[in-house]
Subunit: 156 residues, 2 copies
DNA sequence: CGCAAACCTTCCAGTGGCTGGAAGGTTGTA
DNA sequence: TACAACCTTCCAGCCACTGGAAGGTTTGCG
């Protein structure tokens, strides 16, 4: 039932750096800025490997897990979908990778981002125009509603 | 078991325009550019009123439904969330509305859009920089992966 | 008139990326 | 020894659909 080793090594500098501090999920969470729930979720969907379990069932993580989770966290911040991140992790762990594969994933993701920006900017332009046209007072006349309910010619 | 009235009035100009052509969900779908599945969904979540049902169980829609669904469709194209659209519909149907209420909803939505654009542009900038730095060849060295795995100082 | 294609119906499940909460066991601290 | 603060699993929900199964109805054509 006892936790295995020096997981509380944060304050003691006596332990050598080579001895890996084992982290509970809560500590890993704080270190990487990723909620514990999310870490479990990443594990469940196969993005993160299953960590060692102590006899009490607790997950214990090593330093490598910290790096991996930070990698995932940063990739998520850049908006990469989980599927991409899985591939990026594989490439990251493969010393014989070709950087063009990494680049291709990134390029495709960038394009997806740009497409989204384009759509949002189109919405933005229309909305700004509508807001500009609307008096925004106590009267009912409203170009915004007029635009939303505008008739358009329909064939068929 | 017989459909109620002149739902096939598309070709005959003999019927007066005042007589409302009743549309099946499929026809309404085509007229408004919204999938039938989505129309049922909108009804289910209360965004659209329940239409008349013929004795065979089919939904039949009148001209008013066409206008409403187009309104919803356009609002969705502008990215309004369903909750907002519900409020916009209510205001649209209220002749004593105040246009400032419409404007406020639109303004808040615009801000949400702009926030999203800001985040995406930040991602875009980083991604462009990374892609620019990466050779994208057959060698493993990759600034993109370097960036994602960059160490940062951690307290605690 | 018969038959197949094209409709329509309901219900259930899945998408992405978490997030909240319940119910229960374990650990750390005063 | 009490109790907070962890940890565990499992289930449900978010948004706005979308897909598919299983079954009934209508339409168009030979």
């Amino acid at each position: 039932m006892s936790p295995p080793d020096n997981r509380g090594a944060t304050k003691s500098a006596t332990k050598s750096a080579a001895e890996e501090a084992q982290l509970t999920i809560g500590r890993l969470s704080k270190r990487c800025g990723v909620p514990a729930k999310t870490i479990r979720y990443y594990e469940e969907v196969g993005l993160l490997p299953e960590p060692r379990r102590a006899s009490n069932g607790y997950r214990y993580y090593d330093q490598r897990a910290v790096h991996t989770l930070r990698f995932v966290g940063r990739a998520r911040e850049l908006g990469f979908p989980m599927e991409d991140i899985g591939e990026l992790l594989t490439l990251w762990n493969n010393k014989r990778r070709k950087s063009k594969n990494v680049r291709a994933i990134t390029q495709a993701h960038l394009k997806a981002i740009q497409d989204k920006i384009g759509m949002l900017e189109s919405m933005q332009n229309t909305l700004q125009h509508l807001i500009h046209c609307c008096h925004g007072d106590d009267r009912p006349d409203c170009p915004i509603l007029d635009e939303l309910s505008a008739k358009e010619e329909d064939d068929e």
